[in-house]
């Protein structure tokens, strides 16, 4: 056609046309939609054994070959996203040139005859002469439209007005936001990390296991878990809260102390520490305290061998207890964390002195873990000590924490804001041009309202109608006043 085609080889030109085509856009959008389904049906990033079991070894090889087990990061999915980005950038460059001219046009031209012939124009007739309405209409329209200009015509005047030129940029904002989002995601995956660490209560950790590779990663600080609690709602099934009390230390110095729960993580140096899971630790002294303070109340049960009745009493160490049915007096003497009986380990136990009604003194051992132990003594009463009621055993937990650093998150959030604002502009705002022409006729004055909008023509027509009605009222009202 012209010189340009001769200069640039044909294929560059057709490549460009391909890149800016709408066909490419919708094909990519619909392909992304269709392919995304795969990853929702086939579980992602599972262990290879699970796939082999579920789909068989051959299918698994195919999956692995095509990256289906991690499809959202596969070369083909990322490639498709890249095509989308290129498409968006190309389209934006292609169209922005024209849009730019429209937006930064200092003196937009209004072809009056064009508006006079528009079939959406509205005509109303009023009494006052055109000359009287000029200042009035100019003031009213200029208040509502950013650009407005009055031109004289043969038998009157016309006000040309325009607003919302900048709204033509909305569509670029939406498209740019997608590029920003993907960029933010890229920044996060290139420069960020995320991993998991399990810390038992009272212990510290500074190394996490990366989720992606399983490798160990050393944090620039140490996390200490002071305490972990899990609470359930009544009924015991529904979890209510998972809470870890954490202390961040750096070079031995305490830098931050915070209790974290789900939805309220801790941030230190841009690194987030999230409550993720917990584990009950296997403890040798399950359900049983390792220590017992001197004044801790202990629940004692006495079973009378003769009557079979079980009595419960609460006592502390050193306090004599009268056994019912006149079976004697028991005095607990001390707590022994590792009691032994004939070289058999009994675990934590209470040692006491039993004085029978006859005055006979006997040393007895009450292991907290074996309630029936005292029956072996074959006395008239079987005594057991239940410690968990007196001093509830604190179960020991380890908290599971996700530690995440994502420097791209603010880029992504900026993209979110840009996308929302852009969508509002694209969907609900438009570039509107309006001509109000006032013509003096033989008996009356004719007001013509016509205009065009780049979007939402139906809604704009309502706007024009309201405007015509208002201008007519304004004209008549002014006439009455005069």
């Amino acid at each position: 056609m012209d010189e340009k085609t001769k200069v640039s080889p044909g294929y560059v030109d057709s490549l460009w046309r391909f890149l800016v085509s709408l066909k490419l856009t919708v094909v990519v959008l619909l392909c992304l939609a269709a392919l995304s389904i795969i990853g929702t049906v086939i579980p992602q990033n599972g262990p290879s054994q699970a796939y082999i079991q579920e789909y068989g070894p051959f299918s698994y090889q195919v999956f692995a070959l095509l990256d289906i087990v991690d499809m959202y990061h596969s070369w083909w999915f990322v490639g498709l996203l890249l095509v989308l980005v290129v498409n968006i950038i190309a389209c934006s460059i292609d169209r922005l040139q024209t849009t730019w001219k429209v937006i930064f046009d200092r003196a937009p031209r209004f072809e009056l005859s064009q508006y006079r012939n528009r079939n959406n124009r509205i005509d109303v007739k009023v009494q006052p002469p055109a000359s009287q309405l000029k200042a009035l209409f100019e003031r009213w329209l200029c208040r509502r439209f950013r650009y407005c200009k009055v031109v004289s015509t043969d038998k009157g005047f016309a006000v040309t007005a325009e607003r919302g030129r900048w709204t033509r940029l909305g569509v670029y904002a939406v498209h740019l936001s997608i590029v920003v989002l993907l960029l933010g995601g890229l920044v996060g995956s290139k420069f960020g990390f995320d991993g998991f660490v399990k810390i038992p209560e009272g212990e510290s950790a500074d190394t996490i296991t990366l989720n992606s590779s399983g490798r160990l990663f050393k944090l620039p600080f140490t996390i200490r878990c002071e305490d972990f609690t899990v609470q359930f709602y009544e009924g015991g099934q529904r979890p209510k809260e998972f809470r870890s009390s954490l202390i961040i230390t750096e070079n031995g110095r305490e830098m931050l102390r915070k209790q974290i729960v789900v939805n309220d993580p801790l941030y230190y140096k841009g690194i987030g520490v999230y409550q993720s899971s917990y584990e009950r630790l296997e403890s040798t002294a399950k359900d049983v305290p390792e220590k017992l303070s001197a004044d801790a109340p202990i629940e004692l049960t006495f079973q009378s061998v003769e009557s079979g009745i079980i009595y419960t009493r609460t006592a502390t160490i050193g306090q004599p207890v009268q056994i019912p049915e006149g079976l004697g007096v028991l005095t607990l003497e001390r707590f022994e964390p590792e009691a032994k009986f004939q070289s058999m380990s009994l675990g934590p136990a209470l040692l006491g002195k039993l004085v029978s009604p006859e005055g006979e003194v006997q040393t007895i051992t009450l292991p907290l873990r074996f309630a029936k132990f005292d029956a072996m003594r074959r006395g008239k009463v079987i005594i057991a000590a239940a410690a968990q009621n007196a001093a509830p055993a604190k179960e020991r937990y380890a908290t599971g924490l996700q530690v995440v650093y994502d420097p791209g998150v603010w880029v992504v959030y900026a993209g979110f804001i840009l996308m929302i604002l852009g969508c509002v502009v694209v969907f609900f705002m438009s570039h509107q041009q309006v001509v109000v022409e006032v013509t003096g006729e033989e008996k009356a004055t004719r007001i013509m309202v016509a205009g065009k909008s780049n979007k939402n023509r139906v809604g704009f027509q309502f706007t024009l109608q309201r405007m015509a009605k208002h201008l007519a009222q304004l004209a008549e009202g002014d006439a009455k006043k005069a």
Binding site: L22, T25, V26, L29, L30, L32, A33, S36, I37, G39, T40, V41, Q44, Y72, G185, D194, F196, Y233, R238, P239, K240, E241, F242, V261, V262, N263, D264, P265, G272, Y274, Q275, S276, S277, G400, Q402, V404, D406, V409, V412, Y413, F416, M419, I420, C423, V424, F427, F428, N456, V458
Partner: protein, 284 residues
């Protein structure tokens, strides 16, 4: 105090009644049942609103542990879905002065509530840790405004297809009175734009929340992925319409396809796929 679920069961029938009257008014081209249907829709919407508010209040009366905005499970979301359909339909009816749509929209709201009553757990349950966030309200409201707009757009698209078939059979002299196709077409477009904006905001609020609760703003969880699929379908629709000037039948079909994706995002993911949104197990 009357229980909220009793009120909501009654509201189900009121929506159903409104739907029947809209249908009668449409088929027999009578004004009277239509006007009555409008009034009944208002009653249903009011009842739906009261039901939601009452549930909210009742949850707090059961103890501060229980108190939460009623958006936390399938039952509560279905009730809210019915409400958003009701609101959007009534706004459209008033603005575009057409009642025909009610014959599809009101039954949709009725269906949502009827389906809610089939849910095994309509009891108020306290929130699990993952749901204890201020983002819950923003996320659910925006998502469901989007879903409901797509639902009403779906109703319009069905009408459009019925209309175009009718027009093929007998020019203009059909049995059924439907607003002009240009209006239906425009309405689909407006509703899809509205729905798209709210779906976008819904996905974004969900992402910001996920960053707080699950450490990542996007983890390709099935619910997230399906909401993206829905978003992509409607994005394609908007491009066809705005750039190619596609109108009518093809847009109607895309809008129906989009709504099927909405339904799968909403129900299908919960029943067929497992992920973070199922709230079954605590992760790891």
């Amino acid at each position: 105090m009357v229980d909220n679920s009793l009120i909501l069961s009654i509201v189900t029938f009121i929506y159903g009644l409104a739907g029947v009257l809209y249908l009668i008014s449409w088929i027999f081209r009578k004004e009277m049942p239509g006007r009555l249907a409008t009034r009944i829709s208002w009653v249903a919407l009011a009842g739906n609103t009261i039901g939601i508010l009452l549930r909210w209040v009742q949850s707090y009366r059961m103890g501060s542990e229980y108190g939460h905005a009623p958006f936390s499970n399938m039952y509560e979301s279905l009730v809210f879905f019915a409400w958003t359909i009701g609101v959007i339909y009534i706004v459209v009816e008033r603005r575009y002065k057409t009642r025909t749509l009610g014959a599809i929209a009101a039954p949709l709201a009725c269906l949502a509530l009827a389906y809610a009553s089939l849910e095994p757990s309509s009891a108020i349950e306290p929130l699990i840790p993952a749901l204890k966030s201020n983002w819950l309200i923003a996320h659910v409201i925006t998502c469901f405004l989007g879903y409901a707009a797509f639902a009403v757009a779906f109703a319009v698209s069905i009408l459009y297809l019925v209309k175009s078939k009718e027009e093929l059979k007998a020019e203009g002299g059909g049995l059924i009175h439907i607003p002009p196709s240009e209006l239906l077409d425009e309405l689909t477009h407006q509703l899809v734009m509205f729905g798209f904006l709210f779906l976008t905001v819904g996905i974004i609020t969900g992402a910001v929340w996920a960053k707080q609760a699950w450490t990542r703003y996007w983890s390709w969880d099935p619910k997230e992925t399906w909401s993206l699929i829905t978003w992509l379908i409607y994005a394609a629709l908007l491009h066809f319409r705005m750039m190619r000037g596609w109108r009518g039948r093809r847009i109607a079909i895309l809008s129906i396809l989009g709504f099927l994706a909405v339904l799968f995002t909403y129900f299908g993911v919960n029943y067929f796929l497992s992920g973070l949104h199922s709230y079954g197990a605590f992760s790891q």
